[in-house]
Amino acid sequence: MALQSKIEPSLSEGEIEAARPLRSARFVRRLRPVVEVLASVVVVMSVWEMVIRFFDVQPFIFPAPSAVLASLWSGLASGKYIFALGVTLSEILIGCTVGTVAGLLIAAMMVSSKLAHRVVYPWIVGVQTIPKVAIAPLMLVWFGFGIESKILIVALTSMFPVMVNTIAGLSSTDRDQVALLRALCGSRLQVLRYVQLPAALPYIFAGLNTAIVLAVIAAIVGEFVGSRAGIGFLILQANFALDLAAVFALLTLLGALGVTLSSCVRMVENRVCFWNRRN
């Protein structure tokens, strides 16, 4: 793709004309998966609705998709879900940012010092193996029911995959590329800047992709353990009220949030690591 757009100016008019139908074909090809997914959603929802109506299933056992959609709409229209989404999203975004920065810094430290690697790594793995649900009540005691405790849980969760991948990325550098920089009198900082960091970017983004998905889970876990707002908080409330349509509506919202966040990360990745797509 990148080459295509670069070569185009040198093509003659006729050749550009010839390239146009190709482009629209590519557009259709790219749209196809989206259409396929949408079609499958429609099919599943129709079957689901028919089964519920046919067997006359009670809404507090399993809600019909129509009821879920209605609940979703009213929740969004009243602003209630929007506010909850805002709370959960801030927990995820702030927590993930803090976690990512911490993961990058710790990784940089461990790569630059073998001693740090030996001493710090076991601690991190130790903390990581404790389930976050088990730590969440502690965070609540220390940081209260507000957004801070969730941010911390999210940060703790997302730090690990970023750190592990960054370490792998920074140690994956090509020896010849480092030799080239050294032959040019490059300092350690220049080796990091011109070779190690760019080479580590695809790894870092792989870590970020895992981190963002885990961050959604961590935020909901935190809200389940104790909170006053957020999607997780609303799910618990709806569950107690046996309003399963609302639970399903909130779960749908949560799924959409996860998919959106993950695609955002992937989009930025494709931008930043453009050179990594082909090879």
Binding site: S10, D174, L181, A183, C185, N279
Partner: protein
């Protein structure tokens, strides 16, 4: 002539944990004059690349001394350029950015370096590919970009490790002629490792033959024929005679007729 690059009794033994040490370079003494074009030939694995890495300051010798322009080589120097056996381009930089890497790392004035880079890229037949990324170029084009990168900061000493090995015969010839032209115009000291005897005869003032590992120098041949030399030079008697001498030395180096090994 002032010695520009001088090896005195240089030894290099690689010590890898848990394995027997490998003696790659053994007692090499070689004095290369300022502006001299020296070709190094020898069997594969005899320590040619190692010799260049020593001069680059990338490997530490285990014996002897190496001087460039009178200073002992202990770390990489600004006035030395290198072309590795593989192109070693950074995939996230365009060809122009790759070629300008030495200017960036050495913090040279941008405008001047850019102009120099554009000229050299045109010379290497890479005009129009300045904004392309390495994976969009053929192997030979990548190698040419690697050569341009070595020249961009105008180093006094140029170390080339089989720079044309990945090129087809025709490109190889044009690049050889271009290299000779650049050398005549800018008079760099060049050490040029090659497996190709014709290439050595065409380009070099002096051809050094190394033995199989541990690499020692087994012959040191002068090639005083006038320049510029072109491909026709290779069919002249002087060139054939020199090629024959190099073959003979290589026969000794390999222990079997080199004709069967070296094209």
């Amino acid at each position: 002539m002032v010695a520009s690059l001088e090896f005195k009794d240089v030894n290099l033994t690689y010590q890898v944990d848990g394995r027997a040490p490998v003696n790659a370079v053994c007692g090499v003494s070689l004095s290369i004059g300022d502006g001299e074009f020296v070709a190094v030939v020898g069997p594969s694995g005899c320590g040619k690349s190692s010799l260049l890495k020593l001069a680059l300051g990338l490997e530490m010798k285990t014996g002897g001394t190496i001087h460039i322009g009178g200073d002992e080589v202990e770390k990489p120097r600004r006035d030395v350029g290198v072309v590795f056996q593989s192109p070693v381009l950074l995939p996230w930089r365009t060809i122009l950015q790759n070629v300008l890497l030495p200017a960036d790392v050495l913090k040279l004035p941008k405008a001047e370096a850019s102009r120099n880079a554009m000229d050299l890229l045109a010379l290497a037949g890479l005009k129009g590919f300045e904004e392309a990324y390495p994976h969009e170029l053929s192997g030979g084009m990548q190698q040419r970009a690697g050569i341009v990168r070595a020249l961009v900061h105008d180093p006094r000493v140029l170390l080339m490790d089989e720079p044309f090995a990945a090129l087809d015969a025709l490109t190889r010839e044009t690049m050889s002629i271009e290299l000779q032209r650049i050398w005549m115009a800018r008079r760099k000291t060049i050490v040029f490792v090659t497996h190709n005897i014709s290439e050595a005869v065409l380009l070099a003032d002096r051809i050094v033959v190394m033995s199989a590992r541990p690499g020692r120098i087994i012959s040191d041949l002068q090639n005083p024929e006038p320049r510029p030399r072109d491909i026709r030079f290779l069919s002249q008697p002087a060139a054939s005679e020199l090629s024959g001498k190099i073959r003979e030395s290589l026969d000794r180096a390999y222990g079997i007729p080199a004709r069967e090994l070296v094209a």
